[in-house]
Structures are given as C-alpha cells and as structure tokens.
Symmetry: C2
DNA sequence: GATTAGCACTCAACGAAGAAGAGTGCTAAC
DNA sequence: GTTAGCACTCTTCTTCGTTGAGTGCTAATC
C-alpha cells in the first residue's frame, strides 16, 4: 500500500516528533514543525485517514496521534534515510578495534560499548562460534601434584584449556606421547569436523595410560563443545532507564531480566538476518510478556562465519540513526577483522 | 551506651517489623507482635526515649517509628544473632563449587549467583590476585603467518596468553630458544617477585632475534600486569528492583550504575575486613550521591591471599540473614579451595 | 515511680470535584 | 479539495475535605 507524498510527510513528521518527545503529536504541531503550506484542519483530515489505514493511533479521543507499529514499519520500509556516523566517530571506532585486536573478548566488549554510547540504546555484539577454525596444537602440561593442564590452540589463535587429574608420579614423556597422538590425528582439522570416531581412534591407537587418555578425551570434548558457543557482549543496558516508556517498574524488570540473562537475550536476537540491517519492531519480536521493544541488528563476516551486532531499544526508537550506526559499525568491524584471521 | 532489656526488645521488634514491611512501626504493632505484657502507651514512652537516643526516627509527626542508621548499627553490634544456611543449602553450595572446581571464573560466578539467590540481594565474589602464584612455564606457539601465541602457566593452573606478531619465516627453533631462556630465568618465581631487571637480563642473555624477544617481553609484562588484578563476579543486581526504597528511578539509576560498572563497585567494597563479617550501613560507605545502601562482606583465604565475598542491599536489610549467609558461604568456599591449590 | 487509659491533635493518603488546556471532529463556507 | 470556526472530549492539575493510623500529653491507677 502506497501513500501520497503529503501523507508521507505527515507520517514522518509525526514519527520524528513523537520519537523525540514521547508525547502525542497534534495537527498544529505538524504544521508548525514543517512549515507546511496547509492548515491544521487539512492535516487533521489526513491524520484521520492515516489512522484509518492503521499507521497512526490515538491514545484517547481528542489526544494527538502517535505512530502505530505498522506506521513505524511503513516508515522503515519505504521512507527511512539511514543516518550514519561521522568521520571522526568512525576513526575512533577503528582505533578502538585495532587497539584490542589481540583479544576477541576485548573487541566485542569495546565495540558493543561504543555502539551503546553512539546510539544510547542497549547494544550487543555476537562473535561467531569457532567451529570452522582448525585444530592446531594440543599440549598436556603437568602443573601440580595431581593435576595437568590440557591446552588446545586453533589456527585463528583461540586458546582453550582445562585442568585434568593425573597420577602424581606421571612421567612427562607419557604426557608428551599422548599429546603427540592427538596432534597427529587432529592437526589441521576443522573443529566441527572432529568426530567422536576420531577421538575413539586416538584412544585405540595408544596402549598405555588409558585412564589419563580418557581424561584428556573428556577435556577435548568439553573444549569442542565450548567452541560451538557464540560469545556475546552486552552494553548500555542502563540506557533503557532513560526511556519514559519504561518508568513502569514491572516493564522495566521484565526487560532488564532479558538483557541480563544470556539465554533470554540470545533467544530474542533474530536467527536469520536477510537484509543488511534487520529491524524488528514491537510484537514482531515474539517474546512473551514484552511488546514494547524493538531490535535493529546487522551481520558481519569473520572466520568464515557470521557474527551479529545490534541494538535494543523502545519501539519509539530513532530507527534511522540506529540502522545506520549498526550497519556502519558492523562493516568497519568486518573490514578490520578481515585483515586479521 | 547500653540499653535495658525492654528497650532492646522494642528496638529489635521495630527493626524486624520494618525490615519485613518497609512501613513505619507503631506502638500497637510492637505490643501485638511480641505479645508483650505492657501497654502501647508504655511502649510509646520507650520509643520516645529510643528516638531521643538516636536509635529510631519518625518520618513525620505522628507516624510510626523506623530504625535509624544508628539503630541498625546498635542492633548489629550488640544484639544480632546470625542466621545461617540449612544443611541442605550448604550441601548444594558444596556441590556447586566442586562441580566447577576446574575454573575460577566459573566458581566465583556460580557462588555469587548462589549467594544472590540465598539472600535476595545483589552479591559479589572477588577472587584474589595471582601475584603469589609461581611462574611455571612459558611457551611460544606459531599460529598463523605473522602471529605467534605466548602462553604462560602458573603452578596454580592459571593460564595467561597473548598474541604477538612475528616475521613470517621464523624458525620454530628460534622461538623455542627464546622460550627456554624465559623458563630458565623465571621458572619457580612468584609473579610478584619478577622484576623488570629479571626481564632485562633475559633480553641481554640472548644474542639474536631481539625484535621478537621484545614482543615476548611486552606480552609477559602485559600478563604480569593482568595477574595483579582481582577478578570479580556480580550477581542478582536485579534484586534491588524489588526493594520499595528504590522505586524512585533516580536512586535506582545511581545504584545500578555502580553495580554495573566494575570500577565503581570495587571502590565501594571495603578494603580491610577486620572482623569475620564486616557490615557497612548507609553512609558508613562513603560513596557520593548514595546513602541508602548497606554492604555485608566477609573474607576467605586462598592462594595465600584474601578474597572477598559479600552482598549489597538496602539499609533496610536482613542483616542477621545476610551476615550469617555471607560468613558461611565464605567459609565453605575457603575450605573447598584449600584442598585445591 | 512506673504504668496505663483516654483523648485531642497531627499529618499522610485518598478521592471527589472543578478548572484548565490541548486537540479533535464536524459543519459550513470558500 | 481546503479551511475557519466551534462545540465537544478527555487528560491533567489543583484544591479541598475526609479518613485513619499513630502520636503525645494528662490524669488516674497500681
């Protein structure tokens, strides 16, 4: 369904005004704001049309109008001009990423933090799982009387480690033999290609020290499981305290609970990202109990997989700013990571 | 200053009642609750005395009384009976710790989470810095064209690692030589005993590959710096949303900001813990802008150093429960860790 | 001298009633 | 199709009286 030019201007005007003030917008305000050459009465008629079409709603008879979820959707799909970061901001972001390039955890945390600050919404960055990385090296290092450390390294520089129990009198040579067997069997393989059978073959190939081998196997399996997980960093959750729509404590509680609880948050973030920037408005995110939030998310490629980056805020969100910023930050991140792994 | 028995009973009664209901407590309520054999009028006289002494206050003329900060202090110092966990809860806690014994991060997070749940306040666990651990082993592992991984392990099983840049054609033997020099010089030393001079000596002892050595030195210095940091885990921050005193959004914001921001939180936690359980009530924590929170914190020993564990809640806190729980959890944690490192 | 009953008094909390004001929807004129 | 004019609606804010919990004081009682 297409709108004529004047209706578009009015819809946009109401959205911009409402997003800024969080107050219903009246016909006079629309005229004044845009210096339109039509009277308030005409605008009123148009607004009545827009309401009938479902793009606007009225909190109560004879209040101004506010955009409906459908109204935002129309704006986002058909009218929105993305607003992106300034040159200086982009440079700052690049510096932040480069300065932390040695540690993914640092990168995603700092970038998320940047995004939260740039948009004033809650933000997240997801780093893809490492299942496509290649197994590089395994080592077993005795550290204390009864303990040894199993360390595994991937080609992309990820380190995983786990303690295991070993007999106190174990010879270092034994541990080395075991490690060698693992390295020979797994070296160069992608983590997601390592099967249980591979591991069993290693076990069978060695004659002695079965008990220790089992411990190592256990550790390796634990690491492989961990490598499947996508790391996530969240920032700016407290930004939502500034939004007037969440002055209601009950709503606030629900939303903070989601932002604090890893699992809930992951559930909320869209699985597929079709366009450059995916925007989910209000109930389009079907989470039980919460209708009042929107998500803007974009993807970025690294390590042959897809990471995600986005912001979470109220429905009354500056989508133009959020979409542009999320998109740009994702691109910058992708670009710098490309040179790295 | 000492109180007679009846005043104590009345003070305690008011504290317990107020902590539970968050409403000022009247004289009738005190009589009823405790089935005291005196009349409300008598209690009123006593309450007037207690107010004069500074232990109670009145929100406004002719409201009930609420405990003053001094009143809580007196109660905590002179009357409080700590209330601890049940056998079942302690067993659960032990299981939680044992199940995660292989990773400190896991332990402190899970224990903090347990504590938050057990008390319904925000909780934290601080793991001591690792400066007393001993350097065990350093390794340099090439991982990509231009990169190598410097891995250091301590006797207590801590792993630190950092990527460095290396020339693409570097021989593994060179890296091994460098690593050996480090191991020889630093092996067995406590991290806090490793000086800049030690590092410089290593640099001087090697003739070739100065550039790579500098990179490794940089990495080692970075790790040493990191080892000085105390790890902290926080849980249950959302519990404060349930406290009626924080229904005011501005106060809530301030407090959440502290709980979310690592640095602020560390500042808030008492440096010295003299008694088994240190309790700081209201303004006794001098943080600017916030007078309304109390902290209950205890220490535990591990790795030859002191970790901290505690809860943060409103002044209107169940100190008896909090103190007992914090103390017990700290003891259990200390005991299990003792068998480990 | 300590305790208690009785009673006037205080003050927050609640709610009803009225005034103000923003904004609409409709009608009739342009 | 557009606009001016006006009655109407509904929230918000303020005021003002009512209610009720709880005190503090006085005088009587143990």
């Amino acid at each position: 369904m297409s709108l004529d030019e004047r209706k578009k201007i009015i819809l946009e005007s109401i959205i911009k005004d409402y997003v800024e003030t969080a107050e219903p917008v009246g016909s006079r305000a629309v005229v004044k704001k845009h210096g339109l050459n039509i009277s308030a009465a005409t605008v009123r008629n148009e607004m009545a049309d827009l309401e009938e079409m479902g793009y606007l709603e009225q909190p109560y008879t004879s209040a101004g109008r506010i955009p409906s979820q459908l109204g935002y959707r129309y704006y986002v799909d058909c009218m929105m001009q993305k607003e992106t970061l300034s040159e200086e901001e982009i440079e700052l972001l690049q510096k932040i990423i480069r300065d932390n390039i040695h540690e993914w955890n640092e990168i995603i945390e700092k970038v998320s933090s940047f995004l939260a600050q740039a948009t004033s919404y809650a933000s997240f960055v997801i780093f893809p799982s490492l299942t496509l990385s290649k197994f590089k090296y395994l080592q077993i290092l005795p550290i204390e009387d009864h303990k040894a450390l199993v360390i595994a390294v991937t080609d992309s520089g990820l380190i995983m480690h786990r303690k295991i129990e070993v007999p106190p009198n174990i010879a270092e040579g034994d541990l080395e033999t075991i490690a060698k067997a693992f390295n020979k069997a797994l070296g160069g393989k992608r983590l997601n290609e390592i099967t249980r059978t591979d591991l069993m073959l290693i076990r069978d190939s060695l004659k002695r020290r079965k008990k220790i081998i089992d411990r190592v196997l256990e550790a390796v399996e634990y690491m492989l499981a961990g490598s499947k997980e996508e790391r996530i960093a969240i920032s700016g959750t407290l930004n939502i305290l500034n939004e007037p729509e969440f002055k209601d404590l009950e709503k606030l509680k629900k939303i903070l609970a989601i932002l604090e609880e890893d699992v809930l948050l992951r559930n909320l973030i869209p699985e597929d990202i079709k366009k450059e920037v995916e925007i989910r408005i209000g109930t389009e995110n079907n989470i039980e109990g919460i209708k009042e939030i929107s998500i803007v998310v974009s993807g970025y490629h690294t390590l042959g997989q897809k990471g995600k980056i986005g912001v979470i805020g109220p429905i009354r969100m500056e989508y133009w700013k959020a979409a542009g910023t999320v998109e740009t930050v994702g691109k910058v991140l992708e670009q710098i990571l490309k040179g790295q792994f």
